[in-house]
């Protein structure tokens, strides 16, 4: 199914859906759809919007990945690396108050210099990490 259209076109379609979802959440719920922020909200005991939004995301996105070939067919990383990665992502997004969605989509759409700085920073350190893992360190991870 994912082969029907070019991946770039699927990217633009998926991006438009993400932008629309952020828009609906803002206009009709008055909420900013930063995923890390919503997760932190649920952990603080917030119910209603964060909980129901994330439930919809997990179920609809997860089922679609199961039923189609949009997801990865190859495993990505071994579990110790996934744990280290998850810890850093959880810690960093909480300290920075946002992730790819909160800063990268919502903040940048508002023209926030703070969010633009965050986005440039995390893309830069992520690219540097991939460069080291793939091209410098021995082992040649995929």
């Amino acid at each position: 199914m994912s082969a029907v259209l070019h991946p770039w076109l699927w990217g633009a379609i998926g991006g438009a859906l993400i932008g629309l979802s952020a828009s609906f959440a803002w206009s009709w719920s008055g909420r900013v759809t930063g995923i890390s922020g919503l997760v932190a909200g649920v952990m603080r005991g917030e119910r209603n919007f964060p909980l129901w939004f994330l439930l919809g995301l997990v179920l609809a996105g997860g089922w679609l990945l199961q039923l189609t070939t949009f997801g990865s067919e190859q495993p990505t990383r071994a579990w110790p690396m996934l744990i280290v990665s998850g810890l850093l992502v959880g810690y960093g997004t909480r300290v920075a108050n946002g992730c790819t969605s909160g800063h990268g989509v919502c903040g940048v759409s508002r023209g926030s210099i703070r969010s633009l700085t965050a986005t440039i920073t995390f893309v830069a350190t992520a690219a540097l990490t991939v460069f080291l893992v793939r091209h410098v360190l021995p082992g040649g991870a995929p």
């Binding site: 994912s2 770039w8 076109l9 699927w10 990217g11 998926g14 991006g15 859906l17 932008g19 629309l20 979802s21 609906f24 803002w26 008055g30 909420r31 759809t33 995923i35 997760v39 952990m43 919007f49 129901w52 919809g56 995301l57 997990v58 179920l59 609809a60 996105g61 997860g62 089922w63 679609l64 990945l65 949009f70 997801g71 495993p75 990505t76 690396m81 998850g86 810890l87 992502v89 959880g90 810690y91 997004t93 300290v95 920075a96 992730c99 790819t100 969605s101 990268g104 940048v108 759409s109 508002r110 023209g111 210099i113 830069a124 350190t125 992520a126 540097l128 991939v130 460069f131 995929p142």
Partner: protein, 149 residues
């Protein structure tokens, strides 16, 4: 008109939760079809020295384009104020730098990792608990720092 106030408020709460569920579902579908939920594609975008995959530029460009236009011309929420913080401080630089290192190690950021709970459970069920622990540690350190100041 004969509805009691209690029934009205509980049905409007149910309606708000249904809107939240559907809005979240649209976000999840977007994450799935965009390719952002395929960590290999994400790592391909971050690998500027390898066979670079520009798909994520289309995802982000499209999402920001749609949302920026909507913020300008779409309906405004009642009573809600947009986030006002616009100061670049050490927290945003340090936090984003750490987040980027984690993102580059696996290709998972928070949204796609939640989609992976059902979509790629072998990875999502390992990554997401670690993400929650990392977030809890940051929240705990922050509370402690606030107390000692």
């Amino acid at each position: 008109m004969s509805e009691s106030i209690a029934t009205q408020s509980s049905s409007s709460a149910a309606r708000a939760n249904l809107i939240a569920l559907l809005t979240g579902a649209i976000f999840g579908i977007g994450l799935a079809v965009s390719g952002l939920s395929d960590p290999h594609r994400v790592l391909g975008f971050l690998d500027f020295a390898g066979a670079w995959d520009p798909t994520l530029l289309f995802v982000m460009g499209s999402a920001v384009g749609v949302h920026a236009l909507w913020l300008r011309f779409g309906p405004k929420p009642e009573g809600a104020k947009p986030p006002r913080a616009d100061r670049v401080d050490n927290r945003i630089l340090l936090g984003s730098a750490v987040f980027g290192v984690g993102w580059g190690l696996s290709g998972y950021c928070p949204g796609p990792s939640l989609v992976a709970l059902l979509g790629i459970p072998a990875e999502g069920l390992v990554f997401v608990p670690a993400l929650l622990v990392g977030s809890l540690i940051a929240g705990w350190l922050n509370t402690r720092a606030a107390r000692t100041v």
